[in-house]
Amino acid sequence: MRYVADLANLSLTEHEVRKFQADLDEILAHVDRLNDIDTSQVEPMAQVLYEAEETATLRLDRERPGLGNELALDNAPLAGAGFFKVPEVIKR
């Protein structure tokens, strides 16, 4: 649990670790039934597909106006000088 929480950048309390451990055990036990169905002749389906040209999702490679610096930073918890600010990454 701690390893997965680490991968997910998620801090969990002791209580949460115990609770999610039990929940995930139960859910994964249910998920195990996937092994009961034969999929040896099946291609994985990543997306819903329908008949369309291969280029259907392409658009003209033209510049479009973006949000702009000010609007993009508007919801930042901490910003300054046109940047998102974060705690120090590399200690000198």
């Binding site: 249910h30 999702t57 658009r59």
Partner: protein, 482 residues
């Protein structure tokens, strides 16, 4: 002017009232806002009212009418928008503490289109956090109460939108559906809820939960209004590369039609675990469809038994990736107590996300992690192909499928909240439609002895919304199952 009773007006009645000058758009909007605020103390359906924006939009409708021009098919119609759909300048929380103060800098395409059509967005509706849940109990801002029974859930995750339409504070609403989040609350609240074909409506501006499964769709008090709202929001959008470049038919032209001779499939896997009252109502609905001239036959969708397992692998895997963006850098909330960057990520997410989001992030991260990808994620994608194949096979024999929406009617608030597996299992009949990407909807079928609404589900093949609406409309006009 006498106070406008907004609680039962259909889109057609609003159009008539505006053209006859019975009320102006501003008067109707003010009345809708006042009524919604008053009702909200009972249901908690709304998280935010968009008063300024609504009145400005209404003013525009009145001015357009005064010039003798056409203000659009949704002119003056009060619309509630689920709070996972962004609205420029109007707080959009996704039901999460993490976004409690988030003010989007742009509008979702669906929002833009419905306003261009004259629709009036009166507020943002409560939902499960990031649309993850089946009861709206996972909102950081308190649960929504079912207008038909205040001690019960409205369903989820679009519970606020369903309750808003059911209590009459909005004529129509936008919801989102990833595993049943439009149809199940529509069923629990006795309204119409439509999950269109995957790609039919642009998701630009819909906060991503599971991108290969997410849909935006309408909730309404009747089939006609739902079809009209879909008409307005459907169609290709260059801002969403997954939106389908398929012409949008005239849905209303397909209503009021005959359904005689329509071949309907009743999947036997969907009838196994129903409560007796839900089962009785579905049986009566099937009888009613037969009296309307439909031919109903028993069909099988054999992969159904694996659908929940398949869905909760794929949806959580995608969710764990999509929710990675909430890291304390860009979106309003940051943990105060962090010295390093990685602590800030961890603590912000730990303090910000509610239990269900954390559970799904953990599950999704696990099934994608090294050594487990093939066993879980890839396997689930293959099973998904089998679920989709079931529908392709079925639609080679029948025109549409009818089924229950949920095994049971609205449950009590708190009843399933500590049992995630029981909550997940309640999505059994709705997640298959999302996995296959076919259009599906819930139409009111009748009520239990206790007065709890039950919905009937109709599923059709990709882009066959016209036939789905025609059947739903005929069923509705025939009085549902009764």
């Amino acid at each position: 002017m006498a106070a406008v009773d907004v609680s039962s007006l259909s889109i057609g009645q609003i159009r008539e009232g505006l053209s006859r000058r019975t009320f102006t758009s501003v008067e109707l909007t003010a009345a809708a806002l006042a009524y919604a605020r008053e009702q909200n103390s009972k249901t908690n359906a709304y998280l935010e009212f968009a008063e300024e924006r609504a009145l400005a939009a209404a003013q525009k409708v009145d001015e357009t009418l005064a010039r003798g021009e056409n203000p659009g098919p949704l002119a003056g119609v009060p619309v509630a928008v689920k709070d996972v759909i962004v609205t420029k300048g109007v707080r959009t929380t996704c039901g999460s503490k993490l976004l409690a103060n988030y003010i989007p800098p742009y509008d979702a395409t669906a929002v833009e289109r419905l306003e261009q059509a004259g629709g009036i967005i009166i507020g943002k509706t409560n939902c499960d956090e990031f649309a993850m849940g089946s009861s709206t109990e996972n909102s950081a801002f308190g649960p929504v109460r079912n207008p038909h029974a205040p001690d019960r859930v409205p369903g989820g995750s679009s519970g606020g939108s369903a309750a808003a339409v059911a209590q009459g504070t909005a004529a129509v609403a936008l919801g989102s559906d990833t595993g049943g989040s439009i149809r199940q609350p529509a069923s629990f609240c006795g309204v119409v809820g439509v999950t269109p074909t995957y790609g039919r409506v642009s998701r630009y501006g819909l906060t991503a939960f599971a991108s290969s499964l997410d849909h935006i769709g309408p909730l309404a008090r009747n089939v006609r209004d739902a079809a009209l709202l879909l008409q307005v929001i459907a169609g290709r959008d260059p801002l969403d590369s997954t939106s389908a470049d398929v012409p949008v038919p005239d849905y209303l032209a397909h209503l009021d039609g005959e359904v005689k001779g329509l071949k309907l499939g009743l999947p036997r896997e969907y009838l196994k675990d129903l409560t007796s009252e839900t089962g009785d109502l579905i049986a009566k609905a099937v009888d009613k469809l037969k009296t309307l001239g439909c031919e109903v036959r028993d069909i099988s969708l054999p992969a159904t038994d694996y659908a929940i397992a398949c869905y909760y692998v794929i949806a959580t895997a995608e969710a764990s990736s999509n929710l990675a963006r909430y890291d304390g850098v860009r979106y309003t909330m940051r943990s105060a107590s962090s010295e390093s960057l990685s602590d800030m990520y961890r603590n912000t997410r730990g303090e910000g996300f509610g239990a269900e989001c954390k559970r799904r992030i953990m599950l999704g991260t696990y099934v994608l992690s090294a050594g487990y990808y093939d066993a879980y994620y890839l396997k689930a994608q293959k099973v998904r192909a089998l679920v989709a194949r079931d529908f392709t096979n079925a639609f080679s024999q029948v025109d549409a499928i009818v089924a229950p929406v949920s095994p049971f009617p609205a449950f009590k608030i708190g009843e399933k909240v500590d049992d995630p597996m029981a909550m997940y299992l309640s999505d059994i009949y709705t997640i298959t439609g999302d996995l296959a990407g076919v259009p599906c909807m819930s139409v009111p079928c009748g009520k239990t002895r206790e007065g709890l609404p039950v919905g009937m589900q109709i599923l059709a093949k990709h882009f066959d919304e016209p036939r789905m609406f025609r059947l739903a409309d005929a069923f509705e006009r025939a009085g549902g199952a009764s």
